[in-house]
């Protein structure tokens, strides 16, 4: 709904407020009068009429009204067929990821407007305060309106470049749902769905397929990843019950990977790594995984990738080699930097330092399964 109204008015604030008003009207009227035959159409029409009224009343915005050439007749509820309401989420996501917005604003806005995350949740995912994120979102929406960022899918020539940011946002949405199953499990499915839409839109692009394969592989292990009475205890990969993995889904992901294996892109490589992980613990090809991480690190220059490679290096070359890599990274604000150091120090028998590292990780950890895991590890270091 939001997408349709943003498309109509080019103004996020106006669209959001009129959607809220429409729902409020529905909440008042529908219990007494009954739900209309096309509830979605009713809501869109009502929201649109509210926005038109507001534009008429506000003289500053009246110029915008003339620009849109809206007729003076308000559209009645029966005029709009539900099938006429287009799914404009793709326009919305590409607008949110327009290069005229700062990258961090693109990501935040897509998470807010397309995935519907609360500002506070988005703030946590990016290690900033709620206030900072709120300001970021407001600036982005204002920029879209004031600078005239169009509501559209980029032309074919522009699409590949614009896609990179969209894929990054898509993956972040997935990770939010994946790591916080209690609060946001549905986001993982939403992200996979978005990924499928992008694949359908761009059948000749490999990276959307790489990302989809990656998300499917992660999600296939979801049921084995958590245990305990309330499903909030983390189970490490090596200890996961392979019977609980979604093998048909893993097969689908592996089919995708086979089709795109010649196109070496960041998501495709991460998916290849995830696919190698999905084996029996004593049959995991760690040297091959370490090699893929090296390829990925060279491609992206990302310290987080180098951090992730440490686990594979530890398995292939031992924890000391891995710790040497990790200690060279500047990631002190990143939870997994500390938890990885903790693991490696623990394996090296340096329990005092391991405990300190786990405690640093705990200070940054927000997901319940991860907090519990870290507390267990800290207790084991006594």
């Amino acid at each position: 709904m939001l997408a349709v109204l943003v498309g109509y008015f080019g103004d996020f604030e106006l669209a959001e407020e009129s959607v809220a008003e429409a729902f409020a009207v529905a909440a008042r009227r529908w219990p007494a009068e009954g739900v209309p035959p096309n509830p979605a159409a009713w809501l869109v029409t009502t929201a649109r009429n509210r926005a038109i009224d507001r534009l008429r009343r506000d003289r500053v915005l009246a110029g915008k009204l003339r620009l849109l050439e809206i007729t003076t007749q308000a559209v009645t509820e029966t005029d709009v067929d539900e099938s006429e309401i287009p799914d404009e989420r793709l326009e919305l996501i590409f607008t949110c990821c327009h290069p005229a917005l700062a990258v961090e604003a693109q990501v935040a806005l897509t998470l807010r407007s397309v995935a519907g995350l609360r500002t506070e949740e988005i703030a946590r995912a990016f290690l900033v305060s709620g206030e900072t994120m709120k300001r970021r979102l407001t600036r982005a929406k204002t920029k879209i309106r004031d600078a005239g960022i169009p509501f559209s899918v980029p032309s074919a020539g522009q699409l590949p470049a614009r896609l990179t940011a969209v894929l990054a946002v898509n993956y972040l949405i997935f990770n939010q749902g994946y790591s916080m199953p209690g609060q946001a499990a549905h986001l993982a499915n939403e992200a996979i769905r978005l990924g499928q839409v992008l694949v359908a839109l761009l059948p000749d692009q490999a990276e959307p397929q790489g990302l989809l394969a990656l998300m499917l592989l992660h999600a296939a292990r979801r049921r084995a990843r958590l245990s305990g009475p309330d499903g909030q205890d983390l189970v490490l990969l090596a200890d996961q019950d392979r019977e609980l993995w979604d093998w048909p889904q893993i097969a689908v992901a592996r089919d995708i990977l086979e089709r795109i294996s010649a196109s070496r892109g960041p998501y495709m490589i991460q998916a290849a790594i995830a696919s190698l992980h999905a084996a029996e613990p004593d049959r995991v090809d760690w040297p091959q995984i370490a090699a893929l991480y090296a390829e990925l690190a060279d491609m992206t220059g990302s310290p987080v990738v180098r951090l992730n490679s440490a686990v594979a290096i530890a398995e292939a070359d031992g924890p000391a080699a891995a710790l040497a890599v990790v200690d060279g990274l500047d990631l002190s604000g990143y939870q997994y930097f500390h938890s990885t150091r903790g693991e490696l120090l623990r394996r090296l028998g340096r329990l005092g330092e391991a405990r300190a590292a786990y405690e640093s990780a705990l200070e940054l950890a927000t997901a319940e399964p991860e907090r519990r895991f870290l507390l267990l590890r800290i207790a084991e270091c006594e």
């Binding site: 003289r59 110029g63 327009h98 005229a100 004031d146 600078a147 005239g148 960022i149 169009p150 559209s152």
Partner: protein
Amino acid sequence: MQYALLIYTKPGTVEALSPAEREELTREYYALRDEPGVLGGAGLQPVETATTIRLADGQPLVTDGPFADTKEVFGGYYLIEAENLDRATEIATRIPALRIGGTVEIRPTLGPAS
């Protein structure tokens, strides 16, 4: 929507052009001014011709030189009418300054006073 396209070049890059190249650039600038949607514009004379005025202790103070000694020099502008930012960007990409390492800032103008 109305946009201002503000043109910046790196010092010395315009001066380094041959007379023929500079003539070609000038021709393009004028041609662009005649395009539909371009409301007006002007090239500015070099920064050595600039004079700056500000208030100091409430009194106007006139000094030699441009507003700021920056790495990039403000060299000219266009005023254009465009449906949205992408259309404005399309016009901006045709500005010759870009080909000699320059930058163009695209900023919407304020609407009429309410």
